[in-house]
Symmetry: C2
Subunit: 353 residues, 2 copies
């Protein structure tokens, strides 16, 4: 920084210093090919000497592009959604976009409307919705925000393109693992079935059982929270109808483990438990939880890719599926299995990444 005026330098200032026109400076900034090497060097020098920074409001005004992606989300404090958000942010920044967030205060049409409006005032170029709730996606299509919308886990709704983890396949992996271990009565603690993920996981559980010629009659509905897993666990202790439980997410699985432990039901000896998500902590539950690992960051990046494509070519829609993996730890075993020894299975505890 050599000389300094009262205000921030603008294109004109850089131009004067470099002895060119402001338009030439604009070309340099936008990587336009028709700039000679000599000019380029002069302009770049001037830019760095003045510490010039583009005024993106001015650019947005004329280009009608805000270079901003809006993220509409709920439950953003939870591991999965939060990681997805991070994936989106990374991909966006790499592509030269900003990320503006709007968290939903409640899952109501009104809240969605407010959030979308908030994003539209900013004139976001695209919207990523981290909110795997079927009904919400419907509201979105009605609102027609006028920019591309991509939803995480939208495959349940053809009207919106999106990226999702193959939830159904993940659930199948989990149940197939239990069947291989010899279980025949396998229950499912599901998330709310009006959540796309909740429905898809329940469907995977069901289809894996039916394919193996087993009954799919042990479905209990939870609400994703650890507390609901706990409450359901207390009831299960009394019933004892299943030898294994596939749980819709790791948090409910934690609640379930807590209840089982409290009532002296041993995992996996008396009952096997499989979760879904593979949070960073899941390997340290008591016992370390066998679960389905999803790559949330990749999910976020794929969503961003879809949005960027749709921005370039409005009308382009598409869907991407990310495959999950089963992470086997120590909450599953053959039914009635009883091993008093404590395996030093450190490797089984390590996380997905």
């Amino acid at each position: 920084m050599t000389k300094s005026i009262g205000r921030a330098p603008r294109l004109e200032d850089v131009a004067k210093r470099a002895g060119v026109s402001h338009q030439t400076v604009s070309r340099v900034i936008n990587n336009h090919p028709s700039v000679s090497a000599v000019t380029l060097a002069k302009v770049e020098a001037a830019i760095s000497e003045l510490d010039y920074r583009l005024n993106s409001a001015a650019r947005s005004l004329v280009t009608r592009r805000s270079q901003t992606i809006g993220v509409l989300g709920s439950e953003l404090a939870q591991y999965g959604p939060a990681s997805t958000l991070l994936g989106v942010e990374k991909a966006a920044r790499d592509a030269g976009y900003f990320v503006s967030i709007a968290a939903l205060r409640s899952v109501s049409r009104r809240a969605i409307f407010d959030a979308i409006r908030h994003l539209m005032v900013q004139a976001v170029d695209g919207i990523v919705v981290i909110l795997p709730h079927s009904e919400t996606l419907l509201s979105l299509t009605e609102l027609k925000p006028g920019v591309p919308v991509v939803a995480v886990g939208s495959l349940g709704n053809a009207a919106v393109s999106g990226a999702m983890v193959n939830q159904k396949r993940g659930a199948q992996l989990a149940v197939e693992h239990l069947i291989e271990q010899g279980h025949r009565r396998i229950g499912h603690i599901a998330g709310p079935l009006d959540w796309i993920d909740g429905a898809a996981r329940a469907e995977g559980w069901s289809s894996a059982l039916l394919s193996a010629g087993l009954e799919d009659d042990l479905l209990i509905k939870g609400d994703w929270s650890a507390n609901s897993g706990y409450e359901i666990g207390r009831r299960l202790v009394v019933e004892r109808s299943a030898t294994a439980i596939f749980v819709g997410n790791d948090q409910m699985a934690l609640g379930l483990l807590c209840a089982l432990n409290e009532f002296g039901v041993r995992v996996p000896q008396d009952i096997s438990v499989v979760g879904f998500d593979d949070q960073p902590e899941s390997g340290f539950f008591t016992p370390p939880l066998t679960t389905v690992c999803q790559d949330f960051e990749e999910l976020g990046q794929r969503c961003m890719d879809l949005v960027l494509t749709a921005i370039e070519d409005p009308g382009a829609t598409g869907s991407v599926i990310v495959e999950p993996r089963l992470v086997i730890r120590r909450s599953t075993s053959a039914p009635g299995f009883d091993d008093k020894s404590v395996p030093a299975a450190r490797s089984a505890r390590s996380n997905c990444a």
Copy 2:
């Protein structure tokens, strides 16, 4: 929407429809008092008929305010930082601001520089830093972004204003609780001591012990992760020097519980454990974890308040302290306590909120 032109309506269009000048419409939008009731009604009708939306790029260009707050953060997928972000978002939206995020890819000067630059290109009006790492805060003060910067937990660094939970007091609450239970040898698994929170909690642990005339010689350093808690737990099992452990966060506490359980050390009968954070899951650990509850959302909101104040009145700095609470569950008891009965202590499991 009554008539529609090819492009989005602008002030001029609304003005024509309402039979006033564009400036009057601008006044309505900005709640300027000098607008008669009749005009107000006409303009508002026109706005809603045309579904007019302000072009914030144009406004920013002339006001030199972007109405955007930048959030610079790391570990944004973790419960604490993510909740803080949500608090910031809520407060910002209520105040009419947008929130743009920049996640740190690594804790390096380079990464911080990139992130700040990213935010500055957007011309954010203020920055909230969710990154309780002393060194980073120092880099920030060097970078002088030219807008107010508020850091979560910055009280360790006078150069930046900020809001923080009274970490030291929280640690004291935890340790005092253990002392009351009769413990005399109380260890601490600390987070990295170059993190403000890590240092403050260790300090609180130490001061509470010294006040009670006890030794503060059992400090072990972890890295906040469940895995480090686990590894440290394996070592502790051998040493058995303390009857109680105050752990720097709930994740490390989970790892510790996992290790203790694996080696047959009972909690709380053989050893008491207290955590810090009160994540939503902490009440479902085995056993449910006694921990210190922080209100992250309030923290985020307080930060926003500080930023907004500083935007109105540059130069204003300030600090806010949010008080923590101890949540007593079942991982603590008197040393050597042995109760085979299972208390149905549901209330003790419920969360902070």
